[in-house]
Chain length 373, copies 2
């Protein structure tokens, strides 16, 4: 048996809020991952699905008991204000002191909710993210966005609260349903498209290895994405108010994608699936505007398809639906839709300065009943 | 009628989070106070008592309608997680955008709760504090501490969220009940004791003018306190984790005071009253340790008494009560009580390195049935 690759470690540079990201197979149950927490009181938040698979090894590694764990029911609907209150009640009952640490073990729902609780418990305690989905490893666990949902919208209540440490165990991805893995790959492709052309080229060479969870390919992809994200976060920690800072580029594909998620009531499409389609649509519009070669837009669509992701909107969704939902986007400023578009593979920019007729063409092309070429 | 004094303005220097504090009579209803907010969507949070007195002039000045106001029931018990949810629901129903501004009109309860809502609404929107009590003007509205209470303790859930602007109208203090005014004066005396010897000397000269709400004396005292607080906050924005940073000095008198508040169930003593007694006890202990001249400790007690504040614990409260409650303080580290004590009038320091027998002497002296000399 070959020796396992050493964990990769990179660092998000945010002055006194800087933190390491440790990436690799089996880092979740490696005591070395948590060395910096030695002697501090810890509590774990997770969900029932993840708990069944990974809670025991984590507790054993941290020297904790099951009583020091809060287990949420799984699912996006549990990322709620009411559950944040339950977690806070539990932390207060346990009298976790201000130098205590909250460990979030799970996907984006657990990370966002536990992160929000860590942000507001006694005005903020330390947070460790142990993301167990590809989406969380490459996106939500890094960068400090925490939130809960509200009946009136996703992530409407939250805080910026950087973790102290991120432990991304790539071996756990083997337990992900293939559809969730594909959804995570959408964010990986997004990273290549918006800021890492070599990553994009690598994905074109080895998408099937990623889908098959080749350990080296997965660890490399997670590391490249975290590296890109950490650079963007370091340049624009709190997403500048006007929405025009570097962090906004991470929304590539999201305005189209959110329209699909909202249209389908957030129950049919996974976030990553919607983002994958959004990448295709953003690339198509970029080509129509002459920003991007048509052949490069086609490469984006082909890669999304190879990841096993949909490249067409849901049946029955029309250009009118898109127009209506995109107009409600948070990034709308002065009545104009702002979109992140591509100037090249590996280079994105935000703009409100585009011909709406070209957007209409993109909507028509993607909403057509015929399958994409 | 003499022309009114021009408003005083000072600035809390926190880089891109810097903000002005505008102080003086009638600045609440002066459109110039809010110039920097022009054109932005605003919402106001207040309580029923304050609304009856000052909501109308504020709304008129800001050009808002009553529908753009959330009125809380008055009182500390309303600084709750449940009320934060109500305010957030209301903001979301109104679709206040991320460039919207929340205005907190009221005392510490309104400022802390509205501040917490501004901190977490869409991961943070701008906040304007319009404090209407002396305590809020000299203490809680400046510095960015926001919170709600929990059954298990005050301010247990919250965030650091600096305001964009503080508008401290000294003319509104005339409507304060004398007991609340005195409670605010405790924090003013605290400022003199911990970091502003000239302010302390001024208070000794004109305490009766302050109690009588002489406009010049009040504006000067509020300005000096805000200046001191802004310097401390600039040096230690988030109260360094070990609790040993400059911001901790603002807790002068608070460890003794919290013991009194907890002992009396937070219903009989106002926070400022408890702090006033705490100042006397901290000064006494400082003298017993040889840190402070006995005559200076006596000056502190005399000034607290002239403000109309109690200088003895409630009847029946014993040294044992103090010991038990002080041991639970958040500042306890490694089992040792840490106290802010005085090296001189105008100079405080935190220490855990003192003779417990001397603390016992202080507790005995203050808990004695006989009135203070």
């Amino acid at each position: 048996m070959p020796a396992e690759a050493a964990p990769r470690e990179l660092r998000v540079e945010l002055g006194e809020r800087s933190y390491p990201i440790r990436i690799g197979p089996h880092v979740l149950a490696d005591a070395a991952s948590y060395q910096s927490l030695r002697g501090r009181p810890l509590r774990v938040v997770t969900d029932a699905n993840v708990a069944a698979l990974y809670l025991e090894p984590l507790l054993a590694t941290l020297g904790l008991s099951a009583a020091e764990t809060f287990v949420l029911p799984p699912g996006e609907s549990n990322k709620s204000w009411a559950n944040a209150e339950r977690v806070l009640d539990w932390l207060l009952a346990a009298r976790l002191p201000r130098d205590g640490v909250l460990v979030a073990l799970g996907g984006g729902v657990v990370g966002d909710l536990a992160g929000f609780c860590a942000a507001v418990y006694q005005r903020g305690i330390d947070l460790v993210q142990v993301p167990t989905t590809l989406l969380a490893q490459v996106d939500s666990s890094v960068g400090g966005k925490t939130a809960v949902n509200h009946a009136r919208g996703k992530n409407m209540i939250g805080a910026f609260h950087q973790p102290r440490l991120v432990v991304a165990d790539t071996a756990v991805l083997g337990s992900l349903p293939p559809r969730e893995l594909a959804a995570g790959l959408a964010e990986v492709i997004k990273c290549g498209l918006l800021g890492d052309a070599p990553l994009f080229a690598r994905l074109e060479r080895e998408m099937e290895r990623l889908v098959g969870l080749d350990p080296e390919a997965v660890a490399e992809a997670v590391e490249r994405c975290c590296l890109l994200k950490s650079r963007i976060v370091a340049a624009d920690e709190r997403e500048s108010m006007d929405g025009g800072g570097p962090r906004a580029l991470l929304n590539l594909g999201h305005t189209f994608g959110h329209a699909v998620e909202t249209h389908t009531g957030y129950t049919q499409w996974l976030h990553g699936e919607a983002v994958g389609l959004g990448l295709c649509m953003a690339a198509d519009l970029s080509a129509r505007l002459g920003w991007l070669a048509r052949s490069d837009a086609d490469r984006a669509v082909a890669l999304v398809r190879r990841a096993g992701l949909p490249v067409k909107p849901p049946p029955g969704m029309t250009p009118a639906h898109f127009r209506e939902l995109m107009a409600r986007d948070k990034k709308v400023a002065g009545g104009r839709i702002r979109l992140v578009l591509l100037r090249a593979i590996g280079e994105a920019a935000m703009t409100a300065d585009f011909d709406p007729a070209q957007l209409e063409q993109t909507l028509l092309a993607f909403c057509a009943a015929a399958p994409a070429p």
